[in-house]
Symmetry: D2
Subunit: 313 residues, 4 copies
């Protein structure tokens, strides 16, 4: 069954395996007339690229994006935008050893049960490289949203038990620190933790937080296509994410209603806002005009250097 397309007005369809010829995405339904060039996208892909920082795996790839369609004389035409990133290192020999057994924490076993066999090179379709298509689409949509006054800001909130201190939050650090933490001190501690894990031939999980500002009230549909439901679908579909929360999220299960309800207020010129934002900017599945806040809980990468026991095919 098909399942590589997401979205309704704008749809994205991703394709490609870790060690195939290339990976890419087709973005359909994107409005016409927006300036777009490869550089707009490349900046985001460069941030995604493993090996850019000391915090991630050391695999090196160029990941140069090509716009194959949908842009004419520097502007989007309204027709599908096809993006491709060629795989430069396709040496599948690296992976021949794992072809025979099921790695713990990986989808190897599930692929074999579902499809009868699998592309065992680097996780195939379940590789982290699958996010190339998402990041590239995100770059383009981000530009469009920016033109509408909507800003998406995501960063690392915690790694293991090292959490950022919001009083030291500086957005500039997000791009500057190897952990993408907005707090330099937390970043330093997190890097130490990562080093220790690596020495132990181990990995560590973390939390990503995302804050979206400038969304007008009333976006999202009241029932199945609630804004938070669609965001959860999208975020949970990223490999390694095991939990998603909106606003105060899991904490609300211990709240009383009087604590959790955000009071509406109105200023002298008639602007409606909320005194607090426990709701994370979404009420009844629709944006309420406050910042949208969501968090993704990410499991530690299952690929670790230490010996683990498992079974073969």
């Amino acid at each position: 069954m098909s399942g590589s397309t997401f979205g309704k007005n704008i749809t994205i369809t991703t394709w490609g395996e870790s060690h195939g010829k290339a990976l890419g995405v087709v973005i359909d339904g994107f409005p016409s007339g927006m300036d777009l060039c490869e550089e707009d996208i490349q900046a985001f892909l460069d941030r995604r690229k493993p090996g850019t920082s000391a915090a991630t795996t050391s695999r090196k790839e160029d990941d140069l994006v090509e716009i194959l369609s949908g842009v004419f004389e520097g502007k989007t035409t309204g027709t599908p935008i096809s993006l491709m990133v060629k795989n430069t290192s396709q040496r599948s020999s690296d992976y021949s050893e794992i072809a025979g057994y099921y790695r713990p924490g990986h989808a190897d076993y599930c692929f074999d049960k579902k499809y009868g066999f699998r592309d065992y090179r680097g996780g195939g379709r379940s590789s982290g490289r699958e996010t190339i298509g998402r990041v590239a689409s995100g770059a383009i949509c981000s530009k469009l949203l920016g033109m509408m006054g909507i800003k998406v800001c995501a960063y690392t909130k915690s790694i293991g038990d090292v959490e950022i201190d919001y009083s030291k939050f500086d957005a500039k650090n997000i791009l500057a620190t190897p952990t993408a933490m907005p707090d330099q001190e937390a970043d330093k501690k997190a890097m130490e933790l990562i080093s220790k894990c690596r020495e132990n031939e181990d990995s560590i999980g973390g939390v990503i937080e995302c804050r979206i500002t400038g969304v007008p009230a009333g976006i999202g549909e009241p029932v199945f296509d609630k804004l938070d439901a669609l965001l959860s679908h999208a975020v949970m579909s990223i490999g390694a994410v095991k939990a998603v929360e909106i606003g105060d999220g899991i904490k609300v299960s211990r709240y009383c209603g009087s604590e959790n309800n955000d009071e509406f207020v109105i200023d002298e010129i008639g602007t409606v806002s909320k005194k607090t934002n426990h709701s994370g900017g979404i009420l009844g599945g629709m944006s309420d005009g406050s910042d949208i806040i969501l968090r993704a809980y990410v499991k530690p990468t299952p690929s670790i250097a230490r010996t683990q026991s498992t079974i073969n095919r």
Copy 2:
């Protein structure tokens, strides 16, 4: 934009407002030949009904389901199954007072911003009564899954800070206790907490846990339609849910890879299983043959008796 339909092979389309003539659901794509009668569905709707237990609101409704199509001579025909529950108490006068202002924690403001006006009676489309269509569909799908050896078991895991003790877990209690907790002692404490909240004219949140047994490995699609992504979409689209997690969920963000990876084992007759189930039965978006475990974090109902300040239209 449309947004009241969910699913791909089997789709459900819900309709109806809290105080309209009726609420219902159309289930399309359901296989032919399964025995089905109103009683199969009514049992689930009776459990859903508020006022059945002391733990919930006191509104009384009959909520009798009618099968309007898709069943012939006691069997499903493969064509759309249309289900309807008439609203017996439509006295909208009860709600005339709230028509003018925006209740904290409710979607009133969002509806007005999105649609220009709203059906203010009892939350309209955002009422808890919208779940009638989901519960009715769930009853039917549950019967089909049961015939395939798949069992879905959901219960209350915690209310406020009162949590169940798994050593006292008895599935029979789920239907017997007013809180739907499988642990009678926890149920008693939770009921006390609820009473106290009610005395304070307040409400309290909680956590629902769901365990699905018997799902063969390989169900779910590897990218956007990951099994966990679709479950998150569905669960987060239920009013009042603010977080969803799979397996060890939020905890994995503090785990090391060596803790989180589940080892595969094989027994003498060749059955593959996992030593542990941190993954909650899903790896790479596909079922891995273990029990699927998910949790929904539910906010306290925003409708509380105490006075709150807000603004009017």
Copy 3:
């Protein structure tokens, strides 16, 4: 597999069998704020009703529509509009005889092969009564289109070999004649033909023509969701339609390019139009600003009084 939903921005989901309790439709995504009452829809259902004219079958039904949701204080709310028509004559005894064999020209055999069994009463889901949901949705959408200056006018172009004469076209006749022909003379001849067929215990096919005026240029998507492709999907999904054409349709296969190309012209105030309209108002899948013209070729009803040979189950 599901297949009872049509549309993207506005979706309609129909349900119901000829002799079930009721038939209906859920219209999702319809804009809020439009005045709507049962009378708006009933007028269209009354025209649809068999037995209204001498030209059709004599079955009598009331077909009263009820709005169950999506309308509040006389206006659409933006949430799903659920419409239901109860079946008043459910005497399935009429049909018990046909349960055992496969009627020529009917879907009986296909239903049995697809689903294992069928609701044999009056064609079940394949009954002409299935169009109740379409006509009711059409009534509502027609009102919305009318507010945008778009008019949909459909009429009978021919019955057997009796064709209308466009020089005698009078739109008032469409509602006044039993055949829905805009030409009274043709109507008279067609009624004679129908009588003769009925005497012979036979039926006769015909052609419906539809002209849509006021559609601005640029509606429709350039590839799979071409406006003509979507219209063909919709029209061909009506029972008994065996061919669909746009503009000059089948004739273009014998044209030269120089005959078929419509020249663009511009008037002194800058309005673009076409000298001719061979294209039927659609070029490259998008409306071109001219009237949209389409035709549906309808087979004779397969239910005829005369004896035919067939096989039983």
Copy 4:
């Protein structure tokens, strides 16, 4: 709005413009385990290629297909199959002249009205080259269908008023004649007609007929997703098609029911078939076990050498 994806279980998403870098298609949901290589697809693309025969335009392109994903060790993996054909001749200077005006019979004007501007090179997204993605997908699906015993055979039935004579039908001619006609004599006459048109700086329309054998009864959904409705959607979405018919198609509008109904018969070993096939293999939207027969009526290419009058932007 998106509109470049077609299908449900298997979806195809096409992208690319006539004179962009490349054109391609992503095929999602295709089953795993089928042998697939570039040659399987190239054979179909070579037939599609203009300039292969004297009957079509003289533009020369290589149109070499590359499989970028979804195939591993020579077999489909069940994940998206991405196919790309690079454009070798992108000299847009050829088209600079037409950028300023609206060609009769082309979508130029509609693009400008819809998107504000257009890729004017060779029709952009509305170019005949858009069918590359369809043909490539068709090649792959055709192989899968063949393994299930289903054969799709399409050929030219008529060009202008030159029609094939079924008594001279020889399937081998379809690939051998420049017109893809199965009747060599008709082919010769059609080629003469095409020459005459070309001398007159003109073009000519035609009819394509398609016969699908081996489809079991019961395929297709009874309401909106009728098999004939989906086929019509697909066929009408091909540029230049202005009418689609199933079985006896337009002729049934003049038939009596007794002529049009196909009698069911059963042989001594219990095989059900129909004495005639007026229905074209589809009843009530579901396959009836007979050959499926459909026809597409194609307009003459609007690009003709002779001078036409039109307007500029």
